[in-house]
């Protein structure tokens, strides 16, 4: 494969991939009888052209950061955690219990407690698959898929039969009390004099997500645990040689992964909906897989990938609001973005290399 300068690899290749994905998508818009340029500018403007758009983009991105980090941490230990969906859902249950049944004096304390609960619940939901993988060799991919379904049923039971306020149609908990409401990004920025649209769902959880990115970076590359889990992920016999306990490391890694997925709940449950509704994860657990893979399991990469997907979501919503382009177009765009920047990146790379490297050779 051609050698590319690092800057080209990091910037040009993903960019060309994105351009390819969007070109194809716009072709599709055109084929369905709409104006591609209009659609594109509507999406970009809708997602990034105003603080209002950013308020939504960042909200979705926050979700994806958490689930992306969750998948990435497990990946580093060679564990494929497909259970983000269920862990995030159960994390939501933790948040709901903490917010509903304990009277908090102030959101800051509530946030700390909810963070702990979301993490703990998510971690516990990952514990059984982790234990089974470590002790019984039950494949983590199957067990985490199964636990997604089980989580959905459990939540359905809890919301339909237990936590739903009497007489409410909605399979959802009651609204959390006022002190457990998180300040939105708009409120916070306006308070320090930066104008930002109000009424958007991005909230203080974004800060937690950024902290989580930094935390994961340090965890993976700067702590002993991270060192050990990466070593375990690369070679299990070597890990045994080094005295790393496979059972322990599998369980700890999966619990951290589950906890990160669970943390998503402070964004969507506590920050946005302010109550727990059924199906609140909305596929973010699966998007997290794509985000982690595209971000090459690095927090910085995940941050960008999450932003990209967040922008796609919000841009797609604007498209849905102002045009009759079906909302499924956004799914297709997502698919193409994943395909060209994630799976066919080598194809894009060799295309870029043809343009960048050839002339240089001719010079030499």
């Amino acid at each position: 494969m051609e050698q590319l300068p690092k800057w080209a690899d990091l910037i040009v290749v993903p960019l060309v991939g994105l351009i390819l994905a969007f070109s194809l998508s716009m072709l599709m818009v055109f084929a369905t009888g709409h104006d591609p340029m209009d659609a594109l500018s509507l999406m970009v403007k809708g997602a990034l052209g105003s603080t209002y758009g950013w308020g939504y983009t960042l909200y979705y991105a926050t979700n994806f950061i958490f689930t992306g980090l969750a998948v990435a941490v497990a990946f580093h230990a060679s564990l494929f955690n497909i259970g983000g969906e269920g862990q995030a859902a159960i994390g939501g249950l933790g948040v709901a219990l903490v917010c509903l049944f304990i009277p908090w004096p102030h959101w800051t304390i509530a946030l700390v407690a909810a963070t702990a609960a979301a993490g703990l619940f998510g971690a516990l939901w990952a514990l059984i698959p982790a234990y089974l993988q470590a002790k019984r060799g039950s494949h983590i991919v199957i067990t985490t898929i199964m636990f997604n379904f089980i989580a959905a049923s459990l939540l359905n039971y809890v919301l339909v039969n237990k936590l739903r306020p009497k007489g409410s149609m909605d399979p959802a908990t009651a609204k959390f009390p006022e002190p457990a409401h998180l300040p939105s990004l708009g409120d916070m920025l306006n308070a320090v004099g930066i104008p930002f649209a109000k009424g958007t769902p991005a909230n203080v959880t974004l800060v937690v997500a950024l902290v989580a990115c930094i935390f994961v970076y340090y965890l993976i590359w700067r702590t002993r645990l991270g060192y050990q889990l990466r070593a375990f992920g690369k070679s299990q016999p070597a890990a045994v040689y080094a005295g790393i306990n496979p059972v322990k490391i599998t369980i700890i890694t999966m619990m951290i992964s589950g906890a990160l997925a669970g943390l998503m709940a402070i964004n969507n449950v506590m920050g946005e909906a302010e109550r727990l509704i059924l199906g609140s994860v909305e596929g973010a657990g699966f998007i997290g897989i794509a985000v982690a893979l595209m971000g090459r399991s690095h927090p910085l990469g995940i941050l960008f990938a999450a932003l990209l997907f967040g922008a796609l979501y919000q841009g797609g919503a604007e498209l849905g609001l102002w045009t009759s382009i079906p909302r499924e177009l956004v799914i297709v765009i997502q698919a193409l973005v994943i395909l060209f920047t994630g799976a066919l990146d080598n194809m894009v790379r060799s295309m870029v290399a043809k343009v960048l490297v050839r002339p240089k050779r001719a010079e030499a």
Binding site: R136, G137, S138, S153, Y157, I289, A290, V330, N346
Partner: protein, 321 residues
């Protein structure tokens, strides 16, 4: 539970297992050749759509089936391009294919049929009809076996029998033919295949193509055999269950049959008993819904040992860097 009930549950289990079995065997071919495929779901979905759409437009379920297989093959081609030719990440490619199918089916469905992404209901020759096996009627009187034959085995659509036939066929191809030997080898050690003078790329594309065909049949069965139209997202996670069954089956054809049948059986049981009154406690419906998944975990933990995937699985074959 009387005998008839058991038979009815088995009958239902067989129907429910069929799409899983196709998909599971599809994954088996692909993964045995070293190409992981979490895009089974997407390929089934797009096949379901195109088979229903074509069957509706042409009135022929056979053409529909072919169209479904062709559509699934196109996605297989993309997966092959990404993971074989361009040595991309197989998981990412699979995820992309699932999204692609989920979006495209509705998008195309909307513009063709204006029915919200659904296809019109299929009738007559546009769908598969049940086939009564020979002597089903005559044998039904025979005690025990008779009803088993006539109730459970007989009366399914063509594709159910094809799926069942695919099991010994897969076994035979994998373990008794040259192609199968090479296919298994390329999933274990592609360098061995390469140095033996066989094209790794060619073999892997062949495997991915077979995977496409089988997923195509799975999708066609959903839309034109079990159902009678395409409904968006109608695969409802069956591709993932098939993947789980594949691991469960340790990448072996006969085990694949058992694993998928077990999934079908558990689902059939929970369909039959939406909530279960045990006398002292009534299990809520949500518990019964989750039961197949809970039991899977229990079985996995208790009875199935470690499953070792094909050694070269998931890794692109790179000989020079």
């Amino acid at each position: 539970m009387d005998y008839l009930t058991i038979l009815q549950i088995l009958d239902s289990a067989l129907r429910l297992a069929t799409p899983l079995l196709f998909a599971c065997l599809a994954g088996l071919f692909s993964e045995r050749a070293g190409i992981f495929d979490i895009g089974l779901e997407g390929k089934m979905l797009i096949a379901a759509f195109f088979s229903a759409a074509t069957a509706y437009s042409t009135g022929s379920v056979w053409l529909g089936m072919l169209a479904g297989v062709a559509a699934s093959l196109v996605l297989s081609g993309i997966h092959g391009l990404a993971s074989i030719t361009f040595r991309g990440n197989q998981l990412i490619s699979g995820v992309a294919i699932n999204f692609l199918a989920s979006g495209l089916t509705v998008l195309i469905g909307l513009s063709w049929f204006k029915l919200g992404g659904q296809t019109p209901a299929l009738q007559g020759d546009a769908r598969f009809q049940g086939i009564d096996l020979p002597f089903a009627e005559a044998l039904s009187g025979v005690p025990v076996f008779g009803p088993l034959y006539s109730e459970v085995l007989s009366g399914h659509t063509f594709l159910v029998y094809i799926a069942l036939l695919c099991v010994p066929l897969t076994w035979y191809v994998l373990f008794r033919t040259r192609f199968g030997l090479r296919l298994r080898a390329v999933g274990e050690n592609p360098a061995a295949v390469d140095t033996a003078g066989i094209s790794v790329v060619g073999l892997r594309y062949a495997a991915v193509a077979i995977c496409g065909v089988l997923c195509g049949l799975a999708g066609a069965y959903l839309a034109t055999g079990l159902g009678a139209s395409f409904v968006k997202e109608m695969t409802a996670g069956r591709g993932y269950i098939a993947l789980a069954a594949l691991i469960f089956a340790k990448w072996r054809p006969w085990y694949a049959l058992y694993a998928t049948f077990l999934f079908g059986l558990l689902e059939a049981i929970s369909n039959r008993y939406p909530s279960l009154d045990l006398g002292f406690i009534t299990l809520p419906s949500q518990f019964m819904q989750a039961l197949p998944y809970i039991l899977t975990v229990v079985i996995l933990a208790g009875f199935v040992g470690k499953a070792t995937p094909p050694r070269a699985g998931g890794e692109p074959y790179v000989k020079e860097r």
